[in-house]
């Protein structure tokens, strides 16, 4: 069965420091992978997505993610975190058969300290 694991429930980083949020997936076919961000009291917003091609994808707000098939991972990175990046981050996989189904990880809450 398809699944998405985000091993870190929460992460705290200092403003200006680099960030990496981990995501591992389980999916039998070629995965379609997404990262979404949810600010407090808001809906989810897409940061970036991977379908094929270059395994390093660039997203909005200075985020990038690298698809590593051998490790079944799609980790999100940002070189320098801003206080406004504090939010909940969700990794997701598009589950192909029958379409229209996206499976989300449990989320990682990012705290940014001054």
């Amino acid at each position: 069965a398809q699944s998405v694991t985000q091993p870190d429930i929460h992460i705290t980083v200092s403003e200006g420091a680099s960030l990496e949020l981990r995501c591992n997936y389980s999916y039998g076919a070629t995965p379609y992978l997404f990262w979404y961000v949810q600010s407090p009291g808001q809906g989810l917003q897409l940061l970036l997505k991977y379908f094929s091609g270059d395994t390093l994808v660039q997203g909005i707000k200075g985020f990038e993610a690298e698809f590593q098939r051998s490790q079944s991972s799609f980790n999100l990175r940002k070189p320098s975190v801003h206080w406004s990046d504090a939010a909940e981050y969700f990794c997701a996989v598009g589950a192909g058969t029958g379409g229209f189904k996206t499976i989300f990880g449990a989320g990682t809450r990012l705290f940014v300290k001054a």
Binding site: Y32, F34, Y36, Q38, G41, Q42, G43, L44, Q45, L46, K49, F51, E88, F90, G94, A95, G96, T97, G98, G99, F100, K101, T102, I103, F104, A106, G107, R109
Partner: protein
């Protein structure tokens, strides 16, 4: 202009009541979804509709009944509300058309409806 809107934003009600949450998207998308986000922030799909046709029904009690009067609207009606129904419910839409076979399109989420059942 709001792309995906939900009403109400907050809903507080007693156990046993029946309530509805409305969702509208003005993006011209073919597919709409309902998700439930529990207190631990876990986001789980409930339903997916494509051009007013039910595509996904994910082990949701039949007290929950989605209705899609047209492809721009997907409402969620809940009968006999229970304490465990308390959550934030998100509506979303995507361009994805039928037969594409995979969930590749970006989903656009509404702001959520926080339901509290007392």
């Amino acid at each position: 202009d709001t792309a995906v809107s939900q009403t109400p934003k907050y809903l507080v009600t007693q156990m046993g009541n029946d309530k509805s949450i409305k969702c509208e998207q003005n993006l011209g998308h073919d597919t709409m979804y309902w998700y439930k986000q529990d207190s631990k922030k876990f986001l789980k799909i409930m339903f997916s509709y494509n051009n007013k046709e039910l595509i996904i029904n994910e082990t949701v009690p039949n007290r929950f009944s989605p209705k899609s009067p047209d492809k721009a609207h997907l409402n969620l009606h809940i009968n006999s509300l229970e304490l465990g129904d308390s959550a934030v419910y998100f509506c979303a839409s995507s361009q994805e058309g039928r037969g594409s076979g995979t969930s590749t399109d970006t989903q656009y989420f509404g702001p959520g409806t926080r339901l509290t059942v007392l």
